[in-house]
Each structure stands twice: as C-alpha cells, then as structure tokens.
C-alpha cells in the first residue's frame, strides 16, 4: 500500500509528528511564527481524546505542560524567541524535577521582539544556557519539513527515555516552508513510553537511582503519592541542602544526557571522505550549504558538509576527529557566531574556522558560502 | 460522682512556644514551662478542644 503523502508546512508537520509520538496534551500561547502548531493541535487533539489549552501567557503554557506530564500525559508546547525567554524559568524546573516534555521553538530574529516573521538561528545558545543553573540540554535542529516531523517524534522519545525536557528548534524558514512529506505507518517509527514504577506505592521514590540514572516516573492519580519540587532534592523528592546529595544529583541529571551523547547526537555527513573544506551548518542554512558544496565540487574544490541535526549535545567527538583531516571549516549561521564559537572550541585549533553571519532577516545564500570557500581554499 | 478527666498530650518536640494555647484556653488549664506549653490545671478542663484546634504546630492532642 502506498504511504500517505502530503504537502505540508514545517509547523504543521511538527504537530503531526507530535500526534504520531502519542502527544495527548498541548498548552501554548499565540506567537509568530509558531502559532500554526497550536492551531493544528487545537483541531486534532480533541479528535483523539487529547487536551488542548491556550494559556494566559508563555510561562503558564510551560507550567501546564509540566503539570500535564506529571499527570501522565505526553506534552508539547510551541513558541518562539520571546516566548522561549519567558519559558526559561520553568524549563529549568522541568530539568531539575525531571519531567519529560517537548518545547518546539521557531527561531526568529531577536533579541526581544526582534523580527517576528524573519528567520534566525540565534536561539541555540538559549537552548542550553537560557535557564540558570547546570542542567541537561537536548536541542534538535531540523532542516526540512520531513525532518521536522521526524525530529519531533525523536524529541518525544528522548524526553521520555531520559526524563528531561527536549527542545526542537527549526528556524522560521523551515517552520514556514511547504514541502512534500511522507508519513510513516503506525508502528513504523518506534515510539518510546516513559518507564513507570513497578514497586508498590509505599516503596516508590521519584528519584530512586537504584534504577539507574533515569528513575521511573509515576503519574499523579495512578495510585502513587509523591512530592515534586524545584528545590534540590533527595531520592524521595524532598528538599535537601546536604552537599554530597546535591552534588551527586546535579551530576546525575547532567549525566543523563552527557553520558548518552552517542544515542542522542544525530548528524549528516555529506561528501566528507576527501573534503578539505567542511561547512558545518544546520537548519535552512544547511540547505544553502549543500548547494554550495555541490557547486564547489563542480569547480574542483573539495568541499563537504557536516550537518548538525542534534545541536545539543554538540557532536564534539565527530568534529574533533574531522578537524585533524581538513584544511578549514566554514560555519554559516543566521546569528553572530553561536555555532562558530562552539566549533572553534571543539576543534582545538586543528583547523581554522571561518564564520558567515547574517542577522538581517535574510537567509544565507549559497553564493556567500561558495565565495568563502574560494577565499579560504 | 467522680469527674472523668481528659488527657491533654503535649508533644514537646513540636511545640514552638507561641502561647496561643495558653491564652485562648477559657479555663486557664495550660501554662508555659520554659519554651513549651504544659498542663497546669487539668481539673479545670472543660474539653472545649480550643487548644488542640488552635495549636499551629500539631503539638496538642486532647482525648476526652
């Protein structure tokens, strides 16, 4: 049987991906350029008995998806720049309380209100450093409509598997462009459910590390009574300031992600085998980069593309290895050097890193990247 | 007939010495002993339960 095919916008695909992953709760607040996700969810969720709520503000939406997740739902919110800034308080809460949920953030011009309809890639640092304190961070950066669909499913899976919030961050171009999308059959893509406790309610501890770094999470209303707080806590969920426990718990929370980098990091290598000049790019910029690489090859330049699909955790190991073989990196991005700085740190001076930065609301075009290749070759 | 006296249990480790039970007892059954409440005159107790009801610290249990 032929697979179901559609012509969809990135944001619409994100909503469809969430539904495939079993999302049954959405809370949001209107914001350009991500509102289509809320619109689709408001129409589709009740059809399958799911819940949609438009909250009074961005913070409220983030709070509601944490509450919903704690009551056993798979939850999603969508937002953009200023909304992401507002949500940071409770993204930190979800990290420390270890509540799975997915935040879909469309990157637009910033800071502040910036350019609501202009594309940008300047929220990637906010995904890791936006909320205060040390915490795990997973951020996925799709480059197509199909990939947005797939990465939203993966975001739910990672969130449930590691009991932590996960961000999906397309830039505005990916979120608003329309492309052909092929839907997987039900069951074709694995959908991960969170591990729930098997112990008796009296024995249950919400942060019981005897089950490993990712303790089982019970749902409120499932017979288990337990306490959840944003304070540093012990295994039973109650606050503590005992130095050894706080240190161990913080390290465990970060280790959930940093200790599973190979499972979480996803990237694409394009024409890298003999590449001398490697473009490191993500989102819509990676599409220009691929075009530029193809053009460069026609002109005899040994160019390749390393495309980030997971931005956090960053594919440090892969880029470090690559840096020992190549002449130069080019890092085009719609910000003033966020990924560039990370790449520079990772490659330890093995190869020069040349950034191409745009924050004028215009995409980086292949010609700019090709010119840079010629300049540095 | 001999009057059956209630039991007033004061959990000293919960008591924070706020005086509320002493002040609002209508028959002056309780007093402060240092920083904690204590029973001074059990015979006067009319089992109104005001002390148990008002104690903010879950420190008083009256059993009639």
């Amino acid at each position: 049987m032929a697979k179901k095919v559609a012509f969809l916008q990135g944001n619409e695909a994100a909503a469809q991906g969430a539904l495939y992953a079993g999302c049954n709760f959405f809370a949001g607040y209107p914001i350009t350029p991500s509102t289509e996700v809320a619109e689709v969810m408001s129409a589709e969720l009740p059809k399958v008995g799911g819940k949609f709520i438009q909250m009074e503000d961005e913070i409220g939406a983030m709070a509601a998806i944490i509450g919903g997740a704690l009551a056993g739902s798979k939850t999603l919110t969508s937002t953009s720049g200023p909304g992401l800034s507002l949500k940071q308080e409770l993204i930190g809460y979800a990290c420390i309380a270890e509540i799975p949920c997915v935040i879909y953030n469309v990157m637009r011009g910033g800071p502040s209100t910036g350019m609501p309809t202009g594309p940008s890639q300047s929220d990637v640092m906010c995904a890791k450093w936006g909320t205060h304190g040390d915490h795990p961070a997973i951020c996925l950066v799709p480059a197509s409509v199909q990939e947005t669909y797939e990465e939203v499913i993966r975001a739910f899976n990672l969130s449930e598997k590691y009991r932590t919030p996960v961000m999906v961050m397309p830039d505005e171009i990916v979120a608003h462009m329309r492309e052909r999308i092929v839907f997987p059959e039900p069951g074709e893509v694995a959908v991960i459910e969170r591990t729930v406790p098997t112990v008796q309610p009296e024995q249950y501890k919400p942060y019981d590390t005897s089950f490993g770094d990712v303790p089982p999470l019970a749902a409120f209303g499932s017979g288990y009574k337990f306490h959840v707080t944003g304070l540093n806590k012990m295994q039973d969920g109650f606050p503590t300031t005992k130095a050894a426990i706080v240190q161990a718990e913080e390290e465990r929370q970060v280790r959930k992600v940093d200790g599973n980098v190979d499972d979480i990091v996803k990237y694409e290598e394009y024409l890298l085998d003999d590449a001398e000049i490697v473009v490191v790019a993500f989102g819509s910029t990676s599409r220009s980069a691929r075009f530029a690489v193809n053009e460069a090859r026609k002109q005899g330049i040994k160019a390749g593309l390393f495309r980030l699909i997971t931005f956090w955790p960053f594919p440090e190991k892969q880029l470090l290895a690559l840096s020992k073989k190549v002449k130069a990196f080019i890092t085009p991005e719609m910000n003033l050097g966020m990924a560039t700085g990370v790449v520079k740190g990772v490659v330890e001076g093995n190869a020069p890193v040349h950034g191409i930065f745009r924050v004028d609301g215009e995409p980086i075009n292949p010609g700019q990247i090709l010119d840079k290749m010629k300049e540095v070759k | 007939m001999e009057k059956k006296l209630p039991t007033i249990e004061i959990i000293e480790k919960y008591c924070k010495g706020c005086h509320i039970c002493v002040e609002f007892c209508p028959t002056k059954v309780l007093e402060m002993q240092g920083f904690v409440a204590s029973v001074k005159n059990l015979e006067a107790c009319i089992k109104c339960m005001q002390c148990e009801l008002r104690c903010p610290d879950f420190a008083i249990k009256v059993t009639a």
Binding site: A64, G221, H227, G230 | E9, K16, I20, E52, R54
Partner: protein
C-alpha cells in the same frame, strides 16, 4: 476526641518550618479536617503550591504534592487537572505568590472556572524573604522595603477573585479556626474554581514592624476586624469601617472548564 491529623501527614515531616505563632499550621489543620470531611482520597488528591512560606504546606501532606515555581501553582495545577479531570486539585499559597508574581495565572484560573480549590494564606507580607511588602500589605504599613510606610494600595483578594470570575469565594481568618475547615470543605465540594482567602498572621516579619506586641495581639486583631457576612447586612457603613467580611462571600453555578472541554472532545470526534 483528638482529631487524627497524622492520617494525612507524611511520617517524619513534623515539626514544620513555620515560625512560632504563624497561623499557617492552623490553616493546614483546617485543610486536613476539610479533606477528611469531604472524604477525598489521598492518592487522588493533588496539592499544588508556588514559592513562599505557605507554599511549603504541600510537602507535609500525604498526597500527590507539587511544589512549583514562584507564582505558577495555578498554571501547573491547570495542567494536572486538564490531563486528569478526575483528580481533586487543591492550591495553596501566600498573598505575594498568588496575587503579585502569580496574579495573571490566578485571574485566568478564576475566569476559566476550572474545578480546583485555591487556599490563599494572606499574611500581608513576603515572609520567607524577610518581610517585604506584598500586594496585600495595607497602605501605610511598615515592611522591610517600606521603611517610611507603604505608599501602595492593597488588593482585596476576595473581590479580585469574584471580579475575575471565580464561582465560589470565601474568607476566614486564622483566629476563626473552627470555621476554616467548613469554608474549605464547601469550596472543595463546589464545582468550579473556588477561592478561600484566610487572613493570617506573620508575627516575625509583619507583626513586629507594625506595633503588634505579640502573637496573641495579632490573633485578637483578626478576631476584631472579622464580621460575618450575615451580621454585616445589619451594619452601617460607619460600623463596617476597618472591618473585613468573613464567610461565603460569593457563589454561583457556571459551566466548569474540564466539563466544557469534554464537550469539545465530543464535538471534535463528531466532526471527524
């Protein structure tokens, strides 16, 4: 017969953190008696709070308890209730948490009329941070950040709740201890968003700055200012000067949010 509060308190959690003479413990006891009266199941009851002294209350309760971020209790609780409408949801918090940083979530929970009970322990001050003025601090009062007297006007929290659309609004005081459980029980049984404001004392950070010589004086002050709504009907505006109405202040029947959303699900399924 002594009431068995321990049935609802997590073992080993007492004594609580509240200061000597703080009325929060009196309110907690009222809440426990109300839960017992109504017959709520502990494992099916979510108690949600924000940040502050009052917000530590859920940690003592042997239920599903959620100590959230400052001001956010109503929004977290909305998520819990939407996901599991069959759960009983109770919010607890202070005046600053609920009406300053949490003011937006508060009024919108009132407007939605989502079936939860919100107990606001109003001690007119930010206690945990050392006594800064809150939106409930009276004009002229002293706080650590109003050393020359408070220039701000105070919210009437119950009126705010009524104006925002809460369908059950009551007020009690920490002095009127035997009324607290009755107000909360009625609030829990009411279908819709219920607000119970309990006027409370903070001897540590409010009393000592505002010429209250003792806990007892603060408690007696609550006794003096409180006027039951029925009694107030027979009083003149002059007699009501400086008084605060207590009891059930407002009650109406209006469609409840999760019920309405259940209808949305039916309509959506029909439209498929």
């Amino acid at each position: 017969m002594a009431f068995d509060y321990e049935k609802y308190i997590r073992p080993g959690k007492l004594p609580h953190i509240w200061c000597p003479g703080c009325g929060h413990g009196i309110v907690m006891k009222g809440l426990i008696r109300a839960i017992d009266t109504v017959g709520l199941k502990k494992e099916n009851t979510a108690i949600v709070s924000g940040i502050g002294c009052a917000s530590r209350l859920p940690g003592y309760m042997d239920c599903c308890t959620l100590h959230t971020a400052h001001g956010r209790a109503a929004a977290f609780a909305t998520g819990v209730k939407m996901a599991k409408p069959e759960m009983d949801v109770i919010l607890v918090g202070g005046d600053g948490d609920g009406t300053a940083i949490g003011g937006n979530h508060f009024i919108h929970a009132c407007r939605r009329n989502i079936d939860m009970t919100y107990i606001i322990l109003n001690n007119k001050i930010y206690g945990m941070t050392g006594g800064q003025f809150s939106p409930a601090t009276p004009t002229g009062a002293k706080a650590s950040t109003t050393p020359y007297g408070n220039p701000d006007a105070a919210f009437d929290i119950a009126k705010l709740a009524i104006g925002a659309g809460a369908t059950f609004v009551a007020r009690g005081t920490a002095f009127h201890a035997n009324q607290i459980d009755k107000l909360i029980a009625e609030a829990i049984q009411h279908k819709g968003f219920s607000v119970v404001e309990i006027l409370d004392d903070c001897p540590t950070t409010y009393g000592r700055r505002n010429k209250f010589k003792s806990v007892i004086e603060m408690m007696n002050h609550l006794k003096e200012i409180a006027v039951p709504v029925k009694a107030a009907e027979k009083m003149s505006p002059e007699q009501l000067q400086g008084k605060v109405l207590t009891g059930v202040l407002y009650k109406e029947e209006r469609p409840e949010y999760t019920d309405e959303y259940a209808k949305v699900i039916e309509r959506a399924k029909g439209a498929k």
